[in-house]
Symmetry: C2
């Protein structure tokens, strides 16, 4: 391997460091108008009266649009590939603007003005009267008999699902002990560096062009078409640089509104960039999920029966809806084995911000529940928690009975061994004394598994296009989206590797434009390196084949004995035959058969490998203050072959930081009486900063996934999945107290320690 | 035909009418610097001393670059496809800046400043001293023994060529009469609406990006690479809207300099837009060519032997050089038949603006000489000039003995018949009385032929890429360049026709960008509808095939019995089977085989059909003033099938106007003592205006060219080729005076009429 497996410098590093990378809000288009949204100041209710006349009269206001002016049909916003089967389509429960207020900040009207300040002033001139209902902020309140329906006819239930495998009663009867427990996670916000923003205009043919910070340009195109009720081909979506998304940009948040508004102002460009406060409440948050677990175990630690029920809080609109908790139920099934298993889940509407995709897609939630529960079982049975997990792990060769996907590589046992070594688990356990002081130390760990896409639940297709230039360098276009995660770099490495050229001879076009970019469903599900990477590899292989055949024609040497290395065509002994540039030049200009070497490939994947990993953490708990200090943390991954170690480490750093925030600090808080968000800003919301983050130890166990382009598996989301349960288990180890609710912040710890008599 | 053959509205009409189309000078990039070129005020000489220190010191001047600062190698500028054979490569005789001055306005230094005014001021602060030589403004002066060499070692000859077919002496011996004559044409400038302009910057990876008004983005990329001495893949060329080119933008004029200058200022964007005065002298002009013709004819009008020698004046740099006059020699051979033919040509350097490609590429020149000569022979032999031409025309089935291209369609006899009818030739001839007053009327006509590309002299390749959207509309990307001629519309019609969808379901991306656009050598040689059109047709056919196969899978109906009409899949009886959108949607989202319907095609043409046509004109000559009034003019074309009649008529209107300007008014004039241009502006240069242009009668004889995508042949350049000789022959008919020199402007007519005793 020349390029793959190397810590190649990010291809976008210079542009981003020098400020040459353009994000949506950096782009100014002539005559651009600014949009501000008039948001509800109640969480549940109905607009009785709305008077926008004073706002409309303000000089500089071009138009004020209200819920009365928008199309009356509903549309979905989740960034899932379209499904022709209505049963598998996302819930369409949103209009562009609404008089039925479903969360504090819901969108009632929009002001379009010549500048932002005027638009803000106009907002203040809008008069509104509400009919107000009790805000529904919990699952209990949502499901109580006679609860106000947030969406009519739903009984506040978005969906329910369940499955059962094996004879559960019979399996449970074999158990020596049965464990039951409950866990709950909090509502958190991804807090990507760049807020949501987009601008739209109409081109000369009347088509709507949307430039947006999105993970899913092609899906966004479809949703905008649905929202406006126009053919999807009449919409064009352009994605410039994206400053992070973590899933909340796998949702179509601001695009339909700006797309609609430009049609109202005759095609003039209109821009809407959310403030941080708006991004908190009006983009997407992570589902808070409540889990009940019941597990039957034999004395030797063999799990015989498992049951999980979950209730997922979705906020005022469905967005990704039930798919999140269903994913929890799926990975809960994949990680450990048993004779019988049951799962049942409900997703409910509440009067909170809409929950959607967020890094891990239900798995940080379920792994918190599952691997805390596993820890507790091991401790109750006085089994070594590592051995207990290892004993019950699914193995290579496992085929999921529901989805039919097969595990062909599983490095989790090695990951556990590696984490155990790195943190000196056994040494520390052996040295452990009875702790009695105000600061207690503990060790904990937790495991997870994850997929590399959504197959077979959804289609998994990705496009790549390569054209070789006359100098042997290539242009690479992908539909897959760089959003900070490094995919552009990884694709450049893959193309370089397959083509036998240095990475700097790959010129990747980072901007996606549905007008010209190959189709790809987008950046989510940690699918890009695996699914889109295979498209790149196939395209590069096709180019290479054409090069070698052409060189064969030029030289009379059999193409199958030729190869490319260091931008030279070489023979089977590695001897240089001809510079690649010479073959490329001849390909372009040979009068007999002129044609540039091109490839345009769609990869349609029908496999979906599991990644695995674990976190080992050592913490010091200050009983008096309830503060937890993470002393050491190792986040160990079987993500197959690592394409770029430095980028993979970057993912681990970010993911562990996010996971620790999830464990210890982050939680969106709402006034229980009004549903008003109380900390939707970066001062009051306790996001981890670099100063809060301990040294993080990324580690990898490189298996070789046979279905992958280069043995690789998913890597983007996995780092966030196991830190919270590992920290929880370490706190338990340190203090003997089980924290089953996130976040484990000082005031919660303090209260429990008091209750437990520790302080 | 649903779309092809219809006067579909230009796809860019609304954008251009509404001012939404962006040309180079409409685009402003942050931190953009302005360039002004310091030009010589002598026509032939050498810079002895150059002092730019005062200019450099001017506040706002970022850098002043002189001939001392630029790479020392030379590069070519002609927009020809690259040829690997050094013998067939364009003459590389230019540096970015020069101390050897070769025309009045040659480029010595460049100022880069924060704005245009500062740059202009800085120019005035540059001090220069020259060593001055006698300007060479004629072929005679260039070729005289001991003439100063404009380029060292050339003896002022760019190239010579000749051919002979048949036994010329033996053929001539069979002639009953031999005619000899001389003709000469003038230096004219295309005067496209938009002057030449480009800006360049460096991207984050250090690659040079040039945004330019060009007909040849991919060739421009190569030439910039050659000029800067960097791999071509390190250059990116973007073509926004182009406001006409007529061949002068088939040359790389301003791009290498801005590309170089951005590298000097650390990659900041630098823009250079020429003024009209600069465009006149520093872009490209039409070669003035002097012809000698000798023709042996039998009494019955059969031509037995022909000979032509030509000297072409190229100006100070080679640009397209000898290729122009070689093309004259080729079409001279194609139009009429004989037993033996000879051609010899020389292209010389002079101290005038560089001559390059201009609409017709040597053919307006040679058709002026050839068809005036034919007229004179007919008159001398008292043959009907129409019958004389018809008798000697080449026929369908003719294979050119040098190039090997075969005529498969030739509608010229019908074109002549049509023009004859339209102008009521016979009726007017019959009614003709002896004319004696001050105003005399006359009828004239002339023929031409032209090719549809450059094959087999150059490669002829063009790329097209189509992706079908979910709604059955398509994205169409072409490498071919819209420059006002309507190619985008024609390609949209072709794609619509082949796909069975309305034209507004074809979304064509008009901007070319070498980073993403399929490779195409560009807009020249009237090749686009024929060569690039075939690429579009092939791509559309591939998409259609995929659609029908997929519909076959969906329905169980054999794809070969299916077709697409009005965006529906229909069966062999025309009954609707399924909306196209439904097939497209299933193509995207069918879990079993998801993949958008895509096609990426390179068309490599190995045919080159001849277009034919003629002009019939009636003029009224005012003997006293020497003014010529064109009373009626019909420009009749066999361009095969006409794809868009309205666009074709538009080409005729523009071409005839240009041809009449060539005939009657246009000529660049230089001071014979200094070589200074005397009329390089639109006030003094007598370009035809709408007010000067008579009613023009476009007419078409639609043959069906079997090698073409839709029976079509070249149409862009042909209208300009025959007006000048037709007008000349009409003046001859009116006055009995032969004008063998262009333009036939009032002062030239006045002098001749006086000399001939007519006034």
């Amino acid at each position: 391997m020349q390029s793959v497996g190397k810590s190649v410098r990010r291809v976008d590093a210079v542009a981003k460091v020098r400020g040459m990378a353009d994000y949506v809000d950096d782009i100014f288009v002539k005559d651009m108008l600014q949009v501000k949204v008039f948001r509800s100041t109640i969480a549940n209710g109905r607009v009785k009266k709305l008077d926008v006349s004073r706002a409309r009269a303000l000089p500089g206001v071009v138009v004020v649009v209200t819920y009365e002016d928008v199309p009356k049909h509903t549309f979905p916003t989740a960034g899932h590939p379209y499904n022709k089967d209505p049963k598998h389509q996302d819930v369409a429960d949103r209009r562009l603007l609404t008089d039925r207020v479903r969360f504090f900040g819901d969108e009632i009207a929009a002001v379009v003005a010549v500048d932002e300040l005027t638009a803000v002033k106009a907002l203040r001139l809008i008069d509104v009267e509400y009919e107000q209902y009790e805000p529904i902020l919990t699952a209990e309140a949502a499901l109580i008999d006679g609860a106000v329906e947030i969406h009519e006819g739903t009984k506040n239930i978005i969906a329910r699902s369940e499955y059962q495998l094996g004879d559960w009663e019979e399996a449970l009867a074999q158990a020596d002990e049965i464990f039951e427990d409950e866990f709950s996670t909090s509502t958190v916000q991804p807090c990507a560096l760049e807020n949501h923003g987009a601008y739209a205009y109409m081109d000369a043919s009347g088509r709507v062009v949307v430039c947006t910070s999105t993970q899913i340009p092609h899906i966004c195109r479809r949703v905008v078409g649905q929202a406006l009720g126009i053919p999807w081909g009449r919409v064009r979506v352009i994605k410039p640089c994206v400053g992070g998304g973590f899933g909340s940009k796998q949702d179509v948040v601001v695009e339909p509104l700006v797309a609609f508004l430009t049609t109202v102002v005759g095609g003039r460009p209109v821009k809407l960039v959310l403030t941080r406060e708006e991004t908190f409440i009006a983009s997407r948050v992570r589902h808070a999920i409540q889990f009940k677990l019941k597990t039957g175990v034999k004395k030797d630690g063999a799990i015989v029966a498992r049951q999980m029920t979950a209730v997922s809080l979705n906020g005022g609109y469905a967005s990704h809806g039930h798919a999140i908790v269903d994913n929890s139920g799926e990975k809960y099934r994949h990680l450990y084995d048993q004779l019988a298993i049951k799962f049942a889940a409900t997703t409910v509407y509440t009067n909170m911000p809409a929950a959607g995709a967020m890094r891990g897609y239900g798995i940080p939630q379920v792994m918190f529940a599952l691997d805390c529960h596993m820890e507790d079982i091991a401790r109750a049975l006085r089994l070594d928690p590592l051995d207990f997990r290892l004993k019950n792990l699914n193995k290579t060769g496992y085929t999921d009975p529901i989805l039919g996907i097969t595990v062909r590589s599983n490095g989790l046992p090695e990951c556990i061994a590696k984490g155990r070594r790195l943190i000196r688990w056994d040494e520390k356990k052996a040295a452990r004394r009875q702790q009695s002081g105000p600061k207690r130390r503990g060790l904990g760990m937790a495991c997870f598994c994850y997929t590399a896409g959504t197959y077979p639940l959804n289609l998994e297709i990705a496009g790549a296009r390569i054209v070789m230039n006359q100098d042997g360098s290539v242009q690479l276009q992908v539909g897959a989206v760089e959003m900070g995660q490094g995919s552009d770099t990884v694709f450049s490495q893959m193309a370089a590797e397959t083509l036998g050229i240095p990475v700097d001879m790959v010129h990747l076009i980072s901007e996606q434009d549905t007008e010209i970019t190959p189709f790809d469903t987008g950046a989510y599900a940690s699918r890009q390196t695996y699914i889109s990477g295979m498209a790149v590899k196939k395209a590069a292989a096709e180019i290479k084949d054409k090069v070698l055949r052409h060189c064969g024609l030029m030289t009379g040497i059999s193409p199958q004995s030729l190869d490319i290395a260091d931008a030279w065509v070489v023979d089977h002994k590695g001897a240089r035959v001809m510079p690649l540039a010479e073959v490329a030049l001849d390909g372009y200009y040979n009068l007999a058969c002129a044609a540039p070497f091109t490839a345009d490939v769609t990869n349609s994947a029908t496999t979906n490998p599991l990644s695995y990993g674990c976190t080992f953490a050592e913490v010091e708990v200050d009983l008096a203050t309830g503060k937890v200090k993470v002393l050491e943390i190792y986040n160990v991954h079987d993500s197959g072959k690592i394409i770029n170690p430095q980028l993979a480490e970057g993912q681990v750093h970010g993911g562990v930081s996010m996971g620790l925030g999830y464990a210890l600090y982050e939680q969106m808080i709402f006034d229980p009486a009004t549903g008003e968000p109380l900390n939707n800003n970066l001062l009051d919301y306790k996001l981890m900063t670099a100063a809060d983050t301990p040294e993080i130890g990324p580690a990898f166990v490189e298996t070789d996934e046979p279905t992958a382009p280069y043995g690789n598996k998913s890597m983007g989301e996995p780092p966030v999945m196991s830190p919270a349960p590992a920290v929880r288990n370490a706190i338990l180890d340190a203090t003997g107290v089980k924290f089953n609710q996130l976040p484990m912040n000082p005031h919660r710890l303090f209260e429990r320690f008091k209750a437990e008599g520790l302080i």
